[in-house]
Symmetry: C2
Subunit: 140 residues, 2 copies
DNA sequence: GTCAAAATAGAGCCTTGGCTACATTTCTAA
DNA sequence: TTAGAAATGTAGCCAAGGCTCTATTTTGAC
């Protein structure tokens, strides 16, 4: 122990920064999984509309997903998730629900809970997730 | 009511995106206030060390703070907060503590609570903050 | 007081994630 | 079957926020 304060803080900020850089990919993967499940296909236009960005932005980010090994897509065909992408989507979905449920349990109004969870979900560690699950179990 | 689902989602993602763009400024302002209070001065080198970034990065971001009307700084002199910057720092500090306290109350280990709060704090709305405060009051 | 070390500043590069404008491909309705 | 609409893709722009490398200023030890 006895790490200097600056290093402790720097480490925390570093974690936050790296979480930030994956937050967008997580949202895309979660959304694509949702579209595939509910609509049967995930087209760039639908992704863009749901995220509120221009279609060109969505297409560009999808190619980043491909580079990251999370998605596949052939020109003019729609987007699919790799095994890795599916697995991430699964984890993200669980996290999302857990965060919303905890916020609701604490007394946050449903719309605020859903909106805030969209940001919060990307910054919740394993340890915190487990505490969330325990907390919900303990009061059900 | 009866907004289309896509618009609801798009709005949430938009809020998250704009929160993300102010997250960094909030951390800087919070840190500068802390350094000013505890060390009497906030020098770019110290800011950089605490954030875990290169000093050039810190200097560049400080100039963004200046542009945003949150800080002042004269060459080779150290950084200060404007009224607006002080006010923001105040709000951020309160939010930070509230998030940590709620996480702790739910059973999150202290180190995880501190680390996760560093990210979560930027995505907590007014409504959620109020619910947090009520929750803590109700169980003290 | 001098001068070397430390701090500060600036230039220039990269990636991300927005955007608009334009080009191409696919789909669909007549 | 084919033209127009819709979807998709590409190019090029911008700002933010990282970085390294270099220059300048300030500070502190002697
Ligand atoms: Mn999200
Ligand atoms: Mn989500
Ligand atoms: Mn923070
Ligand atoms: Mn904080």
């Amino acid at each position: 122990m006895e790490l200097p304060t600056e290093l402790i803080h720097a480490t925390r900020f570093g974690k936050t920064r790296s979480a930030q850089s994956t937050a967008l990919l997580e949202d895309y993967v979660e959304l694509i999984a949702d579209l595939l499940a509910n609509e049967g296909e995930a087209r760039p236009t639908d992704i863009a509309r749901r995220l509120g960005v221009a279609h060109a932005t969505a297409i560009k980010t999808v190619s980043r997903l491909k580079r990251a090994g999370l998605a596949t897509a052939r020109p003019y065909r729609g987007v699919f998730l790799t095994e890795k992408g599916e697995a991430l989507a699964q984890r993200v979905r669980i996290r999302h629900r857990l965060v919303v449920d905890v916020l609701r349990a604490i007394g946050v109004p449903v719309e605020a809970a859903e909106a805030d969870a969209e940001g919060i979900e990307h910054y919740v560690s394993e340890a915190t997730l487990q505490a969330f699950a325990r907390f919900l179990r303990g009061r059900s």
